[in-house]
């Protein structure tokens, strides 16, 4: 200690010394929640010994109740796609409230270019445009929808980064604007009867495929690319990021654009899944997407969190939804439980932060 050139220890790079990842806590919580539902199912007589996750029909080729597993992931997949974008926005220290209405607006816009000319031999009763917009290749509605999303995201980002409007306000305004666009687009009428190839985008387990594929892509992007590193840096210390030569404004616009494009894609998948687009779609999606991120350990102050966390957060919400149906409790309890879990997640996060500092 007498030698003043010494700090507190040796100079090392030790992989084993990495701290306990937050994602493991969420996984643990997920397992505990599943165990509680399982226990309730086994204990209470009215459940007739049904199992939550495991197969009870004694089919010899399966262990799990696949139908339930599929429902759990399927019902959160589309909101999960939005949550992937919201995660990135929150990591920069922002928030995106506009994603729910953007889902509806994009669904309307994209569906208008995905309609089929003839329905059972008759002209499409919900036709919005002329024949020129009918039976187009599936790429066109996708490209139109994503472009629309990118445009909305660019506006969000520009107002937040260049005009210094607080993200909450800017995206709240866009929340209303997008809902308005969705209503105006076809005067409140639903747009329906898409082509077969468009229907395929959201058919069956496709939403889950999209969700997991996009999650993998954005996990890699956030973890291993310059874009990801700068996203964390901006959320962690915006001044430091600017002083380090990061073009913070341009980067923020890019993050909001990507988030809105993911929400737009969720809108495309959702309209494809239901084979119709309505102005009222995607209600509360933005809040559930934020909830998934928050449960997944994304800090609202920015700088911390991961895509894996958000995916686990989505699973928590899926398990709770499905679990409450399983134990035959009313949907209202679901909302109460979910609200409690969101608050608990934030309280735990803050507690952990304080302990660390």
């Amino acid at each position: 200690m007498a030698d003043t050139s010494q700090g507190t220890g040796g100079l090392t790079f030790d992989n084993s010394k990495r701290s306990w990842p937050n994602e493991l806590n969420i996984l643990l919580a997920l397992i505990i929640i599943i165990a509680i539902f399982e226990l309730v199912g086994q204990t209470f007589p009215y459940m007739n010994g049904q199992s939550f996750l495991f197969d009870t029909n004694d089919r010899f080729d399966s262990i799990f109740n696949e139908a339930r597993l599929q429902i759990i992931v399927l019902q959160v997949a589309i909101i999960g796609i939005i949550a992937l974008g919201v995660t990135q926005v929150i990591i920069t220290g922002g928030i995106d409230l506009s994603s729910g209405p953007l889902v509806a607006a994009t669904a309307m816009v994209a569906m208008s270019f995905a309609q089929t000319e003839l329905v059972n031999g008759n002209p499409n009763p919900k036709a919005l445009f002329g024949v020129w917009a009918m039976d187009l290749p599936v790429v066109i509605p996708i490209v139109v929808g994503l472009t629309f999303g990118a445009f909305i995201g660019a506006i969000n980002g520009t107002f937040i980064a260049y005009f210094r409007i607080p993200p909450f306000i800017a995206t709240l305004g866009m929340f209303l604007i997008c809902r308005g666009i969705a209503l105006l687009w076809s005067n409140g009428q639903p747009v329906s009867f898409p082509t077969e190839s468009f229907k395929f985008l959201g058919s069956g387990m496709m939403p889950v495929v999209w969700f997991l594929a996009l999650a993998a892509v954005f996990h890699i992007i956030l973890r291993f690319t310059v874009y990801g590193k700068h996203t964390y840096a901006i959320g962690s210390n915006e001044v430091a990021a600017r002083m380090s030569g990061i073009n913070v404004r341009r980067h923020k616009v890019m993050v909001y654009m990507i988030a809105s494009m993911l929400a737009a894609f969720a809108g495309i998948v959702l309209s494809s899944k239901g084979a119709t687009a309505q102005a009222g779609m995607g209600e509360f999606y933005e809040l559930f997407a934020i909830a998934m991120a928050v449960i997944g350990g994304i800090s609202l102050t920015g700088g911390r969190g991961s895509i894996i966390g958000t995916v686990l957060g989505a699973m928590v919400i899926g398990v709770i939804r499905s679990g409450f149906t399983y134990v035959k409790l009313d949907g209202a309890y679901q909302l109460v439980a979910m609200g409690a879990i969101i608050i608990a997640a934030v309280v735990l996060d803050q507690y952990r932060q304080r302990n660390r500092a």
Partner: protein
């Protein structure tokens, strides 16, 4: 003008409205030289630095770096030119680890055709970080720790190591040890000595007389927005410097007529 100068300013002036924060500063820094800037609070030290690093735009005057006249429109431009500043408030991202912070904004990458999605070369950055820390003698238990888990001294060392990693053309430190304990201060001072040995020019703003006397070759004293003394370390002592700081003395060449 000799090529010997790292930094030269002529009549550098900054007014904030009616407040004359900096008035006609003529300053020179030679290659390999370490210079301290001292003065009371509000004497114009930080203002002087802010004009050089482009954080603020000067009201008047000219600045040369390595014989080339420069007009930085912002701190980024200064940084790209090679002027590194260690600020009083540390410019580190708390949630990132040491290599991330060292290379923030100038990451080593591959697959550059991917544009903003180009891949980070973690291995190279980790190795360079270890090299830089070895070179500056900074000891950090685990470079994979995030900055928020580190002590003030370790943070300051990371910030300084960053300037050392990139062989800056000019390093400016604004009270680097103001918030540090004894041992941490010693560690920072050791890094400054290493920079001296490597011949990297440095401007040190400090209130710590012992530190200044220990580390630098020359002391510039600011008082009320003006330079009032340019002292060689060998030809002065603490009392003398204090006399200049408080206004008891002013060097002849810096005398100004009171009518302004």
């Amino acid at each position: 003008m000799s090529d010997d100068f790292v930094l030269r300013t002529e009549n550098l002036t900054k007014h904030y409205g009616g407040v004359h924060a900096l008035e006609g500063a003529n300053f020179e820094l030679r290659k390999g030289e370490h210079v301290a800037i001292m003065g009371d609070n509000g004497a114009g030290k930080s203002t002087f630095v802010r004009q050089i690093t482009g954080v603020e735009q000067r009201t008047n005057g000219r600045v040369w770096l390595y014989g080339e006249e420069v007009n930085f429109s912002g701190p980024l431009e200064a940084r790209e030119y090679g002027v590194e500043t260690v600020f009083q408030t540390l410019a580190l991202a708390d949630d990132l680890d040491v290599p991330d912070n060292l290379f923030l904004g100038r990451e080593r990458t591959y697959a550059n055709w991917l544009g903003p999605f180009r891949l980070l070369d973690y291995k190279a950055m980790r190795q360079s970080t270890l090299d830089a820390l070895n070179r500056t003698g900074v000891k950090i238990p685990n470079i994979r720790n995030t900055i928020q888990n580190m002590s003030g001294g370790q943070r300051q060392c990371v910030a300084i190591a960053r300037t050392a990693t990139f062989h800056s053309k000019l390093t400016i430190m604004d009270e680097p040890t103001a918030a540090l304990g004894v041992q941490e201060t010693a560690q920072v001072e050791n890094i400054i000595r290493t920079l001296k040995e490597e011949g990297e020019p440095l401007i040190l703003i400090s209130h710590n007389m012992r530190q200044v006397m220990d580390l630098v070759d020359r002391i510039i004293v600011f008082r009320r927005g003006r330079i009032c003394a340019n002292l060689k370390k060998e030809e002065t002592n603490g009392e003398d410097v204090v006399a200049y700081i408080t206004g008891a003395k002013t060097q002849k060449e810096y005398m100004v007529e009171n009518a302004t």
